[in-house]
């Protein structure tokens, strides 16, 4: 970007500055550390950045303009100047009534974007009375066994114009069937509401652990959802490929980029194999990333992932089609950086995590609530989190210009570094056979465990300072109001489930389950057949979630991952 003579002159001037101005300053006091490294620990941060750091950049090829290849500056030419993000929430707990109360409260407060948090038995394809589910029903989310539970949870909320969905990742076909059946029952055209399904099984092998089947079967089911949704309600969003939990579990910034791209490539190709072309798939999905502590490294990460995706997808899909090469990113702020000590400090942390996302032009941001390290969010803490981006947008002028940090010597240099290293991680995964192989072999888990242990050691040694944890520690607890669940919810949910088992048309439920088993067996024998239509029949017939997944487990077995640490 600069001419050779100018760079020569600058290099000489820099040496002179080091020998005079800098040297003189350092004779007074030393810097706090001999070496500063980026938040994820992978890049050494120089004292100052100059055009020398960005000398290798070609503006047109590497940076360009927003909305154009290589999309470094964003996929939208106007960015936040047209910001219309809804007041979004992710909530749910207990049996239908208690969740319904919260959803109504959120709706009344103006939210039209309410993601349903599901409890662990529901995410694992188990009924609420499964012996393994004891104690977990309604704990981390809403319990759903049949469509009646979903109806109860959304009762009284106008569904037309509402955007909702779940993050149930290994139950994608069932979740899709639930929402389609809900629309049938309330006589609503599915396209009148918005559904956003996470449907990302990889997340479960690497993060939260709610996997059911092996990765190959799981990806097959997930892409059945993509294909069916594309055919019947193309406006719904079938998948968001997540790197959030991989990052929280110990990945570095560049690993998050490299692994994230490898995962998304795998999903895109699975969808393609079922007839959903990349130009129809990519615009409907997003890469869902964490927004971590080091503001500059994170902005560089988001810019790098857009650029690297454009470059890799261009070769992989042999195309220049911007629908394929422009990658939409959403974020969930770094819940792993929130502390249980002095929880109010987390408001500051989340605000800066949101700021990093906004400075990078992220399309959809969810902020973690300040009490998340202690319990499910209260109504107040969830509202505060959701308002963060709106305060920054309306009051702090963050989005007036697109990609405001572009051209910073530091940021451009860091963007190059993240991209280079991420490409290395992406190639590692591709060399071993792609994302599925990286999961099967325990590669992702091992990389994460390494990072997590390192992080813990750094906090314990004091090398990584965390306010209220290992520096500026307060010797008393700061109490905050915490959400309390409904201890009687589990028993109530089980009674309700038993009633449904007695009341339903048994022949219809059994027939639905039989058909589902047959379809699964055909699939397992290699026949190309989508699981969703059979799933829909079973759900319509009030087969319970546990019965449905028991039928599938019989065909595919349960997956046990390697227990590595």
């Amino acid at each position: 970007m600069y001419d050779v003579d100018f760079l020569e002159e600058l290099r000489a001037r820099l040496t002179e500055w080091e020998n005079t101005t800098l040297k003189e300053r350092l004779t007074k006091t030393q810097e706090n550390k001999t070496e500063f490294t980026s938040g994820s620990g992978e890049f050494v941060t120089d004292r100052i950045y100059t055009p020398l750091h960005a000398a290798g950049l070609n503006y047109n090829e590497d940076i360009g303009l927003p909305g154009q290849y290589p999309f470094t500056r964003g996929i939208d030419p106007v960015g936040y100047r047209a910001f219309r993000s809804p007041l979004g929430f992710y909530a749910g707990f207990g049996s239908g009534e208690s969740a319904n109360r919260r959803y109504r409260q959120l709706y009344a407060a103006g939210s039209r974007d309410i993601g349903l948090a599901l409890d662990l038995p529901t995410q694992l394809g188990m009924d609420s009375d499964d012996p393994l589910a004891g104690g977990e029903v309604g704990k981390v989310g809403l319990a759903i066994d049949t469509p009646a539970d979903l109806e109860r949870a959304l009762k009284g909320i106008p569904l037309s114009g509402l955007k909702t969905g779940t993050v149930g990742n290994c139950i994608g076909p069932w979740a899709l069937a639930l929402f389609l059946v809900l629309c049938e029952r309330v006589h609503l055209q599915p396209s009148q509401m918005g559904i956003r399904l996470q449907n990302d099984p990889f997340k479960e092998y690497t993060g939260r652990g709610t996997f059911i089947f092996n990765p190959t079967v799981a990806v097959d089911f997930a892409s059945d959802v993509v294909a069916h949704m594309y055919k019947c309600v193309p406006t719904w969003e079938p998948q968001w490929s997540c790197t959030t939990t991989m990052r929280w579990g110990g990945c570095t910034a560049s690993q998050e980029v490299g692994f994230g791209i490898a995962n998304l490539i795998c999903y895109a190709e699975a969808a393609q194999a079922k007839g959903v072309k990349p130009e129809d798939y990519i615009p409907r999905v997003d890469l869902h990333m964490s927004s971590d502590n080091d503001l500059f490294e994170e902005v560089a990460k988001f810019r790098a992932v857009r650029r690297l995706w454009a470059r890799i997808a261009e070769k992989r899909f042999k195309t220049r089609d911007p629908r394929i090469l422009s990658l939409r990113i959403s974020t969930y702020t770094a819940a792993n950086r929130l502390t249980a000590q002095e929880p109010l400090n987390n408001i500051i942390r989340s605000t800066l995590h949101v700021l990093a996302s906004m400075l990078a032009g992220i399309d959809h941001i969810t902020a973690a609530a300040y009490d998340e390290a202690l319990a499910l969010p209260t109504f107040e803490s969830a509202r505060l989190a959701s308002l963060t981006k709106h305060i920054l947008n309306h009051e702090n002028c963050i989005g007036y210009t697109v990609d405001p940090l572009a051209g910073s010597y530091y940021l451009e240099s860091l963007t190059i570094q993240v991209e280079e290293k991420a490409r290395h991680w992406y190639e590692q995964v591709e060399d071993m056979g792609g994302a599925k192989a990286a999961i099967d072999s325990g590669y992702y888990l091992k990389e994460m465990a390494k990072g997590q242990y390192q992080n813990q050691k750094e906090i314990e040694s004091g090398e990584r300072k965390v306010v209220g944890v290992n520096t500026f520690v307060l010797d008393k607890k700061v109490p905050i109001p915490l959400f309390k669940g409904d201890p009687k919810g589990e028993a109530k949910q089980i009674r309700r489930l038993n009633k449904i088992r007695q009341k339903r048309n048994k022949a219809r439920a059994t027939k639905g389950l039989d058909e589902l088993s047959k379809t699964a067996e055909k699939k397992a024998r290699g026949q190309e057949i989508n699981i969703v239509p059979a799933m829909l029949e079973a759900v319509r017939g009030y087969a319970t979630e546990g019965e449905i997944f028991a039928a599938l487990r019989k065909v595919y077995g349960d997956y046990r991952p390697p227990a590595v640490f």
Partner: protein, 140 residues
């Protein structure tokens, strides 16, 4: 004196799959010279008791983040009692509200570790628990 290394079982009961904490603790105990067996996720109380016996461990460490600690710990503790196993102390780590700690201790959980615990604290707790029971003879 040639002492046998301390053996610890780290287990994740229930359906919660967040295992970073459990793995960090497992690794730290191993680094401190102990022999660590990690069960992986989704263990029933029965599986945990069986593993503790089979692996002949000195201490069992549970990790729960889903909020189901009351129910799960009570089932595990009573199963240990039923089997008349009284010499394996059980400790717990995770997201545990302060108000629940006395109830858990009364139930028989020896120590409860929340966020902000250092690995050194856990290592020293395990040492103390083993010393307190005076290195009982191995059961097999």
């Amino acid at each position: 004196m040639n002492r046998k290394p301390i053996r610890v079982l780290i287990a994740k009961p229930g359906l919660d799959g967040h295992e970073s904490g459990a793995k960090v603790i497992a690794r730290a105990l191993a680094d401190a010279g102990m022999e660590v067996v990690y069960t992986g996720t989704r263990q029933t109380p029965q599986m945990i008791v069986n593993a503790a016996l089979q692996e002949d461990v000195d201490v069992v460490g549970l990790s729960i983040l889903s909020g189901a600690h009351q129910e799960l710990c009570s089932r595990i503790v009573s199963l240990f009692k039923q089997k008349r196993i009284e010499d394996i102390p059980i400790i717990l780590g995770g997201i545990i509200p302060d108000g629940d700690v006395p109830k858990l201790k009364k139930m028989g959980i020896k120590e409860v570790f929340g966020p902000g615990t250092t690995t050194a604290q856990v290592v020293s707790c395990v040492h103390d628990l083993v010393r307190d029971k005076g290195q009982p003879p191995r059961r097999k």
